[in-house]
Symmetry: C2
């Protein structure tokens, strides 16, 4: 039996459309810049960041997938690609013979260090420079509310 749809009111509608446009524009810019300056998409950059912050710059594939909000399949393909570039290598996990460790290589770390300033600059230019301190706090609250489970 069909239930009455709760359509979006004007404020919600306008918010949703602005949010979609803004997010798409933001992500497209960052992706393009990162591809141009570091030769990788934003998703791959994030993988390198997570690895660089992990103890011994290494992580189990599934932890890494969770940390990046990525599916296992996606991560598997991505790490394969990053391995071809020589930025990550895989090692067998000593405690679980099913497991694999993704390890950031010296080259991978160097690429990351070189790309980071330009990327941060981009995040500022496209996002934080356009917001007040108050809006930054609001955006954090909103993001955390969306994530809450």
């Amino acid at each position: 039996m069909p239930v009455m749809t709760r359509w979006l009111d004007d404020q919600e509608q306008a918010t949703w459309r602005a949010f979609l446009s803004a997010t798409r524009a933001l992500m497209d810019s960052l992706d393009r810049e990162l591809q141009h300056e570091a030769g990788m998409p934003h998703a791959y950059y994030e993988i390198l960041v997570r690895l660089s912050e992990a103890p011994e710059r290494q992580m189990r594939m599934s932890e890494l997938a969770d940390a990046c909000g990525s599916s296992r399949s996606r991560l598997s393909h991505a790490v394969a690609r990053l391995e071809e570039s020589g930025w990550v290598k895989r090692q067998d996990c000593p405690t679980d013979r099913r497991g694999q460790l993704a390890v950031l290589t010296a080259d991978g770390h160097r690429v990351l260090v070189e790309a980071a300033p330009g990327h941060v600059e981009g995040v500022r230019r496209h996002l934080f420079d356009r917001l007040t301190k108050e809006q930054v706090a609001q955006l954090r609250g909103i993001s955390e509310a969306v994530l809450a489970d």
Copy 2:
């Protein structure tokens, strides 16, 4: 000459990571739901929405690309796909012989009408139900600030 990088402070860092996670989770959910219920990704749904709102349910390819925040190439591929599904058709533009009009078909309109309630429900569940009225207003302001040129 290298210029000192303005790194993100703690608040910005936390905001940026939460924003990335939240946006990715939100978009992934909506994409999955729409793919499952309507057989198309969110980007294609948006194309149908824009067409449905246009006079005579038709638009020039480049207007449509701008409205969707899409590249011409992307739109061209997308419309080709939507045409295969029978939801959109192309027509020559009468006033500009280079031009093409994308026209929403009756089938396309029907699919859209059927998918809309479920999609709106998803947008509510994943976004608006988790925010206060105040946060919705804030999100609108933030999005518009990011879009401003």
